[in-house]
Amino acid sequence: MRETIEFRIAERDARMHLDPGLGVSLGGSIRKVVLPVDDARVGRIAQLHRAYGERGDAFFLSWNLHRSYTEKELRAAELLNLIVRARFEPTGAMCGTTYDESSTCRHCGAGARQASDLVLDTRRIPKSKDIAQTIAGEVVVSSRFATAFRESGLRGAELRPVLHQGRGKPLSSDWLQLIVTSKPRSLSTRTVAGNNPFDLDEDDAFRCPLGHIAGLNQISELYVERSSLDDADVAVTDKLFGDRRGELRPEPRLLISPRLRDALQALPAQGYALEAAHFV
């Protein structure tokens, strides 16, 4: 596995502290820098970020970790993290999907229960994708994904109708909502979560006191308890990532079996990425 980290840095700050040849300019004012995680310059950027932070500023504006795998590594994984790449808005709630908030956690906002079919403006779902997710975490799949899922006899999720909110009453659509029904898998404490790779939220500011949230962001690959293994081809993690803010909701991670990976690759499905996940 090859892991790189991407930073977006204001050009003004990048020019002051980084080699002019490092990274690429985006529109003149932002510099994108991608480095292997073990590169010495990553440490330098982290140090600058801390120094900027002490005066209430930030050196990098955003970060992202990318993990890439060889075919052989992905084939060898006994469990995979399915990452939905295609995201869109408006969210279900904005289009008329109703949620029951009666069991929502008052600390972290987790646990709202969807109480109606998913209603979306389906024109906003990225075209040509087979799996996509609203910014609120509602996952939809194409009819060809659904057919493959059913025909392969895969287990662990229900596929329910997605309605399109047009001008009048909601209409049926070709999309289906992926609702995971299998038992959630226990996330191991070996999974690293935090605010960013250099700030693991030592104060637990983003961890619910009732234990619903692993952290604001996933930093490492996922580790789950072996005992939580069952025969489902798709499952969610029991702990969530993120927070409730505006339309955003805390979200679990999706874990899939090698059988579902094979079905996705055979389609081939569009709109996702895979990472290895591990049993401990």
Partner: protein
């Protein structure tokens, strides 16, 4: 004013106005949060700058402090006209 003009040159086919969420929804803005009516071309330019600073759909979130820096970085370069006394 220059920015508005540059945006119109960059997106010559964009006409009319669109509502812009001061905090974009994908960064945790509320759907009923503060919006400003921007010329469509300028709205596109502001949106593009947000996505340069914090790419859309990467499944990660800024802390509220990090978000403040992002907003400052974007709006210092692409100000909301109404906030600096310009009627777009």
């Amino acid at each position: 004013m220059q920015r508005l003009k540059a945006a119109q040159d960059a997106y010559p086919n964009s006409t009319g106005y669109e509502n812009h969420h001061f905090i974009p929804l994908y960064l945790g803005g509320a759907s009923n949060g503060q919006t400003y009516r921007l010329p469509t071309a300028y709205h596109k330019a502001v949106t593009q700058q947000f996505r340069r600073v914090w790419p859309y759909g990467q499944g990660r979130r800024p802390t509220p402090q990090e978000l403040q820096k992002l907003l400052l970085a974007v709006y210092s370069e692409y100000p909301i006209p109404q906030l600096i006394g310009i009627t777009p």
